[in-house]
């Protein structure tokens, strides 16, 4: 499984790797296969028209913001932030879930299920953007990247730059890769706590904290030292799972 910074898999839009190791790494059947259809039907025309109407005075950013505030729906509580970071595998199992505005667990799961329905119906070689209004409320945007058996998803509102978010996913993955030396899904499954630590060094409170994976690694190394010195967590080698 090659995921070095240069040959990073899925660096583009669709290259999909896959070796036996990844396939079937999780044996649970995909939980809700048919969601994409019902989801598709829920996108209301009014919500869509919203998007194409910008004000004449070019203040569309702010205008849209006002709109979310006026119509609070589910996740949209405050503006200009990353709402959620979700990592799930291609069978819909969540591997990392972080919402920056608190949501009850049922709601989180519902969103993740719907999200999975949309993602798994996306073909290869398509854009990394998905219209997410129907799932996360009007004005939310969604960028995802598909690496081997994993989807990395960032949900944010329209005050963030889409491509910059995509870059951030790349930084996150590159950092994971440095941290786990050729990261694969199993690393992530068994070290989900480490994932949280890494994510916390990249995003805080829905804002980008650090964009240099070198800097993130420095911080992570410091933390690992701290942990070691007080006799604590270290990485779980991949071999555990095969036992």
């Amino acid at each position: 499984m090659e995921m070095g910074a240069t040959g990073l898999r899925g660096g583009g839009t669709g290259e999909r790797g896959g070796d036996g190791y990844f396939r079937g790494s999780d044996r649970c059947p995909p939980p809700f296969p048919n969601i994409s259809l019902c989801l598709a039907a829920t996108s209301s025309p009014t919500a869509l028209i919203l998007k194409s109407n910008f004000s004449k005075d070019n203040k569309h950013w702010k205008k849209e913001v006002g709109l979310y505030l006026a119509k609070p729906r589910e996740i949209v509580q405050s503006c200009n932030m990353i709402q959620a970071v979700i990592v799930m595998n291609t069978q819909g199992k969540p591997r990392l879930v972080k919402f920056y505005n608190f949501l009850p667990v049922e709601k989180q799961q519902e969103l993740i299920r719907n999200l999975y329905g949309v993602l798994c119906s996306r073909a290869e070689n398509v854009s990394n953007f998905v219209q997410a209004d129907a799932i996360f409320g009007p004005g939310t945007r969604l960028v995802y990247k598909h690496y081997a058996t994993l989807y990395f998803v960032f949900v944010f509102d329209s005050c963030e730059n889409d491509l910059a978010m995509l870059d951030l996913i790349q930084v996150f993955v590159e950092t994971l890769d440095k941290c786990f030396k050729n990261v694969c899904e199993l690393d992530i499954v068994f070290n989900f706590n480490k994932m949280h630590t890494i994510l916390d060094e990249i995003v805080v409170g829905g804002q980008v904290l650090e964009t240099s994976s070198t800097e993130v690694m420095k911080a992570i190394d410091d933390i690992t030292k701290m942990e070691k010195s007080s006799n604590a967590i270290s990485l779980v080698p991949k071999t555990v799972s095969s036992r």
Binding site: I49, V126, L163, V189
Partner: protein, 1022 residues
């Protein structure tokens, strides 16, 4: 060994992964949860390490989607652990599991603060991250100054400072007051000189948040932002680790340009020039390259630059440069860039003078409509919709129609709606419009809302030239083998009205039309059957001289439906049958529909007011219209139309389905009268709805979004919620003037108002002829905030207004300044802060006085800051309840009393009463069904959050007595709580027992709106 650290966790994760299905997974998780729960129970045997392990497990289970409703305390308590690993888990898990308002957070606020101000950098980072992730108002209030200090400290490492910046941002979002604008704008400006790019990125995010709220205060930051942009994009002055695929920190560039977009404009010519230079460089210096990541990064910067150029209203030259770039993008292979190219082109439409350049790319955009990626197709559709005007409407709409047959179902409705809107908005001629809509119905009937076909009918009715054409088209479609029902509806309607215009054409005689329509009858739904019946009646009327055979057929149909189960159809059948026997009179009754009044299309309105939710919109408009139309019409109509109207209403047995538009109502009434004159017996049967009115109803019923509701309003002209209160208030305001010399009497029962407010948080506290005091309260733990709304009901000012709070010893209350004068018809708000020091049943009093004319009015009002406001119900399980119950043994912490003379209440009633006090009744906890157990948390400064338990034992044979046991960790609380409950159990006959009855007792005195919101009523007054 490396594994030893978290072996248990790894094994658990491994087990979960090995589960074959969801059911097994659930069993495994439940087992683990049970295990964790028992381990947490006897916490003594738990090492910090084990605690850490279990808390991680909890987070894992939570991520899998299982509710973890316990152990929060353990997670939070780890924050106070001395060692890093435990502390880290505590912080991370707390920020995932707990909501910002969770009570446990209060318990650690001091620990968090100590970590933030402490010397240990790693602890500082953990604390800042957690606070930044959770937010929390209380954090904002107590931590913001410390966080600010860290951010500007010169001795802190960048690692800490960048976290402090984002933490401050989050706190600022929760409570903007934490940043003092005056001092802070200079600080921000200094912070932008920062060399460390990590800190600078965070500071820039903070700036975006600050500037978006108040750009005036941060003007001084603008040149600094331009400098940063120059440093990055022009000088490439960036350390290696911040160069991302060769691009100097794209995020910082993007954020900086985003911040600049919040300033309305760049005035300083030098700054503006430098900025444009950089932007020009970005626009020109970006190319699509092979490496995907590099592409993404460089285009992230580029698209942000485009947005900034648009915002700054650059010269036309630069704009056309941008459009050219976008034109290039929408044709590239890279789907992300194509997507964003289309999206930004849509934004570009708002810039004047570039539409023509955009139009040159029309063909390419249409190609994108067939892109394999639905995201791109949507953007292309948006763009086509936005760029459509009279010149290209025909092309674009035809393109959309063509696409309709292959489009995904997900997009069809939107597509149909957009095509319909464009066709109506930019139709070069009306026959084209009719063509388009008919095609639309034909191709995507399921996705064509009724609004769309109603609109065609309106157009056709109002344009005589169009009628024969529309009729021909409708006839043509009927020949198609498979027809959508909407098509049946619209063609039936059009042919009913206008088929006689075609009667000379072959295949368009009345009989042919009838036959072809009649074929459809067996397969359509009842709404369509109703329309078809009307059409038959019209055909019959237009067939001159009558064709006996056709007449027989149609009559047979009417007769067949005379006993149909659907009332509407039955009625139509009966009426049309009777009417059609009238001979010549029929022509008058079933005459052609009058023209519709010109009105804005509901579709266009939907398109133009995108911000307002449709439901909201119609409600708003309805209200506005009621008020506008109602009042003049009341004045004008009373002499003339009213009686007619009234008579009709009186004769009708139930609600008349009269369309809302007044002009049409007249027509209908006219016809209705004719009808009743023509035949008395018929009018008796008919009374309920006249056929023409109903025909209109088909078209009008839903077409006017606000239509149907308005008609129901006309039935109760003066009781509209908006319309009534001002008048009612006028009446109130007038009356007291007469009795001015007498003392002012309160309106409503002051004591009842107080009691009802004890159980709810907003309502009217006091009202007399001059003033109304409304109240709205918000309680959080032992803090409370009451806002008093003092509304002057009169047209002259109230003077010498004085409000004095007489707080009991246990409450600390601070009333903000009350103005001495309340201007006429104005409302002032006076916030009152309340802090509960210790448990007590004493009540605070508001001593309120004012002068109106020469009368001085002084009232003493009890304020509903009562004991139960400081309660928060907690639900407890038997495992949680009983150990606590047992541990609180005997007086003074546990008190028991037998109470006699209790108002007899059934157990459910009593449970309701308790719930209304915020005592959460736990059903089934007590094994004896005649007993009732409840629990709650009480908040005060002395007791902090303290659980309070109550048990009531009733005697089913004598409901007037019961035994009550109250227990809590504080003797005073136990006593006060016991007395409080006793008061309410014994005094029930006089005091309203529960919110609902209380409300209904007060209601007669106050207008209904007042109960829901005092503000609303006062607004009504102003």
């Amino acid at each position: 060994m490396a594994l030893s650290g978290m072996r248990g966790l790894s094994v658990f994760i491994s087990d979960v992964r090995n589960c074959q299905n969801k059911e097994q997974e659930r069993l495994r998780v439940d087992k683990e949860l049970g295990n964790i729960r028992t381990r947490f129970k006897n916490e003594k045997g738990l090492t910090p390490y084990e605690k850490k392990k279990y808390v991680w497990k909890m987070l894992y289970i939570y991520m899998l989607g299982y509710d973890v409703d316990f152990g929060h305390m353990e997670a939070v308590s780890l924050i106070s652990a001395p060692k890093y690993p435990e502390k880290q888990v505590g912080y991370i898990v707390t920020s995932c599991l707990l909501n910002e308002n969770h009570d446990f957070l209060r318990l650690v606020i001091n620990t968090v603060r100590n970590d933030i101000i402490g010397r240990n950098e790693t602890f500082q980072c953990l604390a800042l991250t957690m606070v930044g992730n959770i937010g929390g108002r209380e954090f904002a209030e107590s931590l913001a100054p410390d966080v600010q200090k860290l951010l500007i400290s010169s001795s802190c490492r960048p690692l800490v400072r960048k976290k402090a910046a984002l933490c401050l941002l989050r706190l600022y979002r929760k409570n903007p007051d934490v940043v003092n604008v005056d001092g802070w704008s200079d600080r921000m400006s200094q912070l932008l000189d920062e060399r460390d790019l990590g800190v600078l990125t965070s500071v820039m995010s903070l700036l975006v948040a600050l500037v978006s709220n108040n750009h005036d205060a941060y003007w001084s930051c603008l040149p600094k932002c331009v400098k940063i942009l120059e440093r990055l994009a022009r000088n490439h002055d960036v350390p290696q680790e911040y160069t991302y695929y060769g691009i100097p920190s794209p995020w910082l560039q993007v954020k900086t340009m985003r911040a600049l977009q919040y300033f309305p404009t760049v005035e300083d010519p030098n700054t503006r020039r430098s900025l444009f230079e950089v932007l020009q460089r970005i626009l020109m210096g970006t190319d699509v390259v092979k490496n995907v990541n590099k592409n993404n990064a460089s285009h992230a910067v580029l698209f942000e630059a485009l947005a900034l150029v648009m915002h700054l209203d650059a010269e036309k030259e630069m704009m056309s440069q941008c459009v050219a770039l976008l034109g290039k993008f929408i044709a590239v292979r890279e789907p992300n860039i194509r997507y964003l190219g289309l999206e930004n082109m849509t934004r570009m439409l708002m810039v004047t003078d570039v539409q023509d350049i955009i139009k040159r790319h029309q063909a390419q955009i249409i190609t994108s409509l067939k892109d394999p990626d639905i995201s791109i197709r949507r953007r292309a559709l948006d763009l086509l919709y936005g760029m459509c005007d009279v010149t290209n409407a025909k092309d674009i709409v035809e393109e959309l129609l063509q696409y309709l047959s292959t489009a995904d179902f997900a997009m069809r409705e939107e597509l149909a709606l957009k095509a319909a809107i464009l066709a109506e908005k930019f139709a070069p001629d009306l026959s084209w419009y009719v063509d388009v809509i008919l095609q639309l119905i034909d191709k995507a009937g399921d996705f064509v809302s009724d609004d769309i076909w109603y609109r065609v009918v309106q157009f056709v009715t109002n344009n005589e030239d169009l009628q024969p054409y529309a009729a021909v088209k409708a006839r043509e479609y009927l020949d198609k083998p498979a027809l959508h029902e909407t098509m049946v509806k619209v063609s039936a309607y059009i042919l009913g009205e206008y088929s006689h215009l075609l009667s000379r054409r072959p295949g368009c005689g009345p009989k042919d039309i009838f036959n072809i329509l009649h074929e459809k009858l067996p397969t359509v739904s009842s709404t369509t059957v109703a329309i078809l019946l009307s059409t038959y009646a019209k055909i019959l009327m237009h067939t001159q001289p009558p064709d006996p055979e056709l007449q027989q057929q149609i009559w047979a149909t009417f007769v067949k439906y005379e006993s149909f189960i659907d009332m509407e159809i039955q009625q139509r059948a009966v009426e049309y049958f009777a009417l059609s026997k009238k001979g010549a009179a029929l022509i008058d009754i079933l005459a052609e529909m009058p023209k519709f009044p010109e009105r804005q299309s509901s579709l266009l309105r939907k398109a133009e007011d995108p911000e307002i939710d449709t439901a909201e919109q119609s409600a708003l408009k309805l209200r506005a219209q009621q008020q506008q139309q109602q009042q003049p019409s009341n004045a004008l109509v009373v002499t003339d139309q009213r009686p007619v109207n009234g008579a009709i209403h009186a004769s009708s047995l139930s609600l008349v389905k009269v369309p809302s538009m007044s002009s049409n109502t007249e027509v209908n009434l006219g016809e209705h009268q004719k009808l009743s004159e023509a035949n008395d017996t018929l009018s008796k049967v008919d009374g309920q709805s006249s056929p023409p009115a109903d025909l209109l109803g088909d078209i009008f019923g839903q077409l006017a979004i606000e239509g149907p509701a308005a008609s129901s309003v006309s039935a109760e002209p003066t009781s509209g919620p908006g319309g009534a209160s001002p008048r009612a208030a006028d009446a109130l305001a007038l009356a007291p003037l007469a009795e001015q010399s007498n003392t002012v009497q309160p309106i409503g029962n002051v004591s009842e108002r107080f009691h009802s407010l004890c159980f709810k948080d907003s309502g009217v506290l006091y009202e007399d002829s001059n003033i109304q005091i409304g109240l709205k309260a918000d309680w959080r733990g032992h803090h409370g905030r009451i806002v008093l709304f003092l509304g002057n009901k009169n047209t002259s000012p109230l003077v010498s207004v004085q409000a004095l709070i007489l707080p009991p010893a246990h409450l600390k209350m601070e009333l903000s300044l009350v103005p001495e004068t309340i201007p006429p018809r104005a409302q002032v708000q006076c916030p009152l802060e309340v802090v509960n020091l210790r448990p007590s049943r004493d009540v605070a009093v508001l001593d309120f006085s004012y002068k109106f004319g020469t009368t001085v009015v002084n009232v003493k009002l009890r304020l509903p800051a009562v004991l139960n406001k400081f309660l928060l119900p907690v639900t407890m399980t038997a495992e949680e309840f009983f150990p606590q119950w047992r541990s609180l043994a005997g007086p003074p912490l546990k008190l028991q009393e037998v109470i006699r003379g209790v108002k007899p209440l059934s157990l459910p009633e009593m449970a309701n009463l308790f719930n209304s006090f915020q005592l959460s009744v736990a059903p089934g906890l007590d094994p004896n069904p005649n007993n009732l157990v409840a629990s709650t948390t009480f908040f005060s400064e002395s007791t902090r959050a303290m659980v309070c338990l109550v048990r009531i034992e009733t005697d089913p044979s004598d409901r007037t007595q019961l035994r009550m046991t109250v227990a809590s960790g504080d003797a005073t609380l136990t006593f006060e709580m016991k007395e409080f409950i006793k008061d309410h159990l014994v005094t029930i006959p006089t005091a309203p027992p529960a919110p609902l009855p209380a409300a209904s007792q007060v209601q007669p005195a106050v207008s209904p709106t007042a109960l829901t919101d005092p503000g609303a009523l006062l607004v009504g007054l102003l």
